[in-house]
């Protein structure tokens, strides 16, 4: 009996196309001579938004990890809430105050996002005051994927470096999230509006390259001043301490060399910067060049310059670029993904995919870890979201291609187990690297994560755990490395974690006998067990100890932003 096909008498299969045409017509009508082809006069941006947006639209406003469509964000805040309201915002990062202002004036109501770092406290207040309805908090790759399933933007407000008369866009080094957003919007009958820093008139000059073809772009507007880009991945080597150098020595010797890690991703932080700066010195002394760290999925970290110059690095693919690295990248196109014009081509969606499936190791830091190995950067009174870390800090269950590191980790995890859990397969190395005490003597190891309290406060379905304990393979602190892959019981896991939790309450409550046993079995390894004398852990081991050393290492090609130039 055929299933009644309710929409049989549906008259029209191209309602989206019609709706799109109506919006474009409304824009042409509203702007008149202030619209020349696709180019909108800067002061007509408000009229453009009010003409193209409709209440309840799902809108993606580019708040990337670094690049911000700040001009369009300010314009959106000023639209008439009577005409444009109850928008459903979908965006990677809530980086600017304007990103939350639109919820306070009623222009927007619902939100799906990934990371809200600086705005975490204000977001929590707006949520508890019922001014924002959160759809869900995603990692970047999940959100981009949902753009192609059930969170497809109707209107995309993006940022690019330059556009030509036809509307081709050059997004420059910080392409970041733009490709995924524009593709989802343009091919679903949506409207793409791009703010640009430069309009290139096709007669005399042309774009360095075309990153987004004109066919995918409906409107282009020149912003009064260049869009905001935050240098998030710059760490001043002068702030790296001797304890971080000690931990970096252990990471290189006890994990990278131990597993032969060739493809990896580094989270941002001084701990990982210390590892990058120890490769050409400490790594060299162990004869590891060529044996580890040849292929990277990470932004152009200035701290990686000495390792690149010493021939350690074969390839780097990036989520986004880093201010000041432009000339260096151009001169090192063998290593970085660059266009024919020489500037970087970053792509957050592809780099997140590479970090998840192509890399053998993720290493990052955290604020708190519990006795199951769960960790979180959630802090009370703030909703900060996840960003990219959980995607890379997880075992890619779908992976099938083998590598030495992946196989070794899998073998260590499964030896001696039976049944499904014992079936041979590989495993992603997920390393949590943290000093036992953070500043102000806050312990990094706790019995119960704040994430549980935050779940109750914000009414979340799950506690916002950043990296789950059963994905963590190693915990690295100044006291040593705990290899959770080799643990065969929850009790062993707990003591392995307590065994590296130092003098925190969690560490002091260790079962000393059991910890010694775990050390005998190599599950816990102290610096001495890896031939490392903590007194050798001095800043002299760093291949660069100041921003100027990095500029020197780059032969003057790296030009740090003003706030980092101490000379």
């Amino acid at each position: 009996m055929p299933i009644p096909f309710a929409s049989m008498d549906r008259m029209n299969w191209n309602t989206k196309a019609i709706d799109r045409a109506d919006r474009l017509a409304r824009a042409r009508h509203a702007l008149g001579r202030r619209l020349l082809g696709k180019q909108v006069a800067t002061d007509a941006v408000g009229a453009l938004l009010e003409a193209t947006l409709q209440p309840g639209d799902r809108v993606c406003l580019e708040g990337n990890n670094q690049k911000q469509a700040d001009f369009l964000a300010r314009a959106l805040v000023q639209v008439d809430p009577q005409r444009v309201h109850d928008l459903h915002m979908v965006q990677s990062v809530l980086a600017l105050p304007e990103h939350l202002d639109i919820f306070e004036n009623g222009v927007a109501r619902r939100l799906d996002f990934s990371f809200s770092g600086p705005q975490g406290a204000r977001l929590a207040k707006l949520v508890s005051a019922k001014r924002i309805e959160i759809g869900a908090i995603h990692t970047y790759l999940e959100l981009f994927a949902r753009y192609f399933v059930d969170l497809t933007p109707k209107v995309a407000l993006v940022a690019a470096q330059a556009a030509d008369a036809e509307g081709n866009l050059y997004t420059g080094p910080n392409t970041e999230d733009t490709p995924a957003i524009v593709e989802a919007t343009a091919f679903s009958g949506g409207i793409v509006i791009a703010q640009v820093n430069e309009l290139v008139d096709a007669g005399t000059t042309s774009l360095p390259r075309i990153d987004v073809p004109a066919g995918w772009v409906d409107f282009v507007v020149r912003a009064p001043k260049p869009n905001v880009i935050e240098p998030l991945f710059t760490r001043d080597p002068a702030q790296i301490g001797e304890v971080q150098v000690l931990m970096a020595m252990m990471a290189i010797q006890g994990i990278y060399a131990e597993y032969g890690v060739q493809r990896l991703n580094h989270g941002i932080g001084f701990d990982t910067a210390a590892i990058e700066l120890l490769l050409p010195t400490y790594g060299e002394s162990l004869g590891l060049k060529g044996k580890i760290c040849r292929h990277w999925a990470l932004n152009p970290h200035p701290a990686l310059i000495p390792a690149i110059e010493a021939g350690w690095v074969e390839s780097v693919h990036s989520f986004g670029s880093e201010l000041g690295m432009e000339d260096y990248i151009r001169a090192r196109s063998d290593v970085f993904f660059t266009g024919a014009d020489g500037s970087l081509r970053s792509n957050r969606a592809f780099c997140q995919a590479a970090g998840h499936y192509a890399c053998d190791l993720f290493i990052g830091s955290t604020l708190q870890m519990d006795l199951d190995g769960n960790s979180s950067t959630a802090t009370l009174g703030r909703i900060t979201g996840f960003g990219g870390a959980p995607n890379m800090g997880a075992d890619a269950r779908g992976r099938r291609h083998a590598s030495a590191a992946w196989l070794k980790a899998g073998q260590q995890a499964r030896t001696g187990r039976g049944g499904a859990a014992g079936t041979p397969r590989g495993q992603k190395l997920v390393v949590q690297m943290v000093e036992t005490f953070r500043e102000h003597m806050q312990p990094a190891f706790v019995e119960r994560l704040d994430a549980w309290t935050l779940q109750e406060q914000a009414g979340m379905d799950l506690p916002p755990i950043m990296i789950y304990g059963d994905d963590v393979t190693h915990v690295l602190t100044e006291e040593g490395i705990a290899n959770l892959l080799l643990c065969r019981s929850d009790a062993e896991r707990e003591q392995a974690i307590r065994g590296v939790a130092g003098y925190t309450a969690v560490g002091l409550a260790r079962d000393r006998r059991m910890v010694e046993n775990l050390r005998d079995r190599g599950i816990i390894r102290r610096p001495q067990d890896m031939g490392i004398d903590p007194r050798d852990a001095t800043r002299n081991l760093l291949a660069a100890r100041s921003m100027r050393d990095l500029v020197r290492a780059s032969h003057g090609l790296y030009a740090p932003p003003k706030r980092f130039r101490h000379w």
């Binding site: 000690l246 036992t436 003597m441 100044e478 130092g502 002091l508 903590p534 007194r535």
Partner: protein
């Protein structure tokens, strides 16, 4: 908010030494900067190892005791006086600094 001056916390520990340190020139390691400490090691009469700490990070006596106990286990020196001025150093930095100071003891 009690407005008496927060004041420093002073902690003292004494451990019976095993290995006589003999006579040596006093050794100073570290600097009293934020998150750091200075450690002065001097010869002392008798066979104990006495440790005196002045710190602006109040309320961590239990942790200090565990740290210095482990330090003495690593270096069971007899006839030494260790004096510390601390401005909120973590146990990792304290242990590193103590080991540095002891490694510079040259008779």
């Amino acid at each position: 908010m009690k407005d008496i001056a927060p004041g420093l916390e002073t902690l003292e520990y004494v451990f019976p030494g095993e290995r006589p340190a003999g006579d040596f020139a006093p050794v100073l390691a570290g600097v009293v900067g934020s998150g750091n400490l200075e450690v002065l090691v001097e010869p002392a009469p008798g066979s104990d190892c006495s440790i005196r700490i002045e710190t602006s990070a109040r309320g961590f006596g239990g942790i200090w005791e565990a740290v210095v106990r482990d330090f003495h286990a690593r270096h069971p020196l007899a006839g030494v006086r260790v004096s510390i001025n601390d401005m909120g150093a973590t146990p990792a930095v304290v242990s590193l600094r103590l080991d540095q100071a002891v490694s510079e003891l040259t008779p």
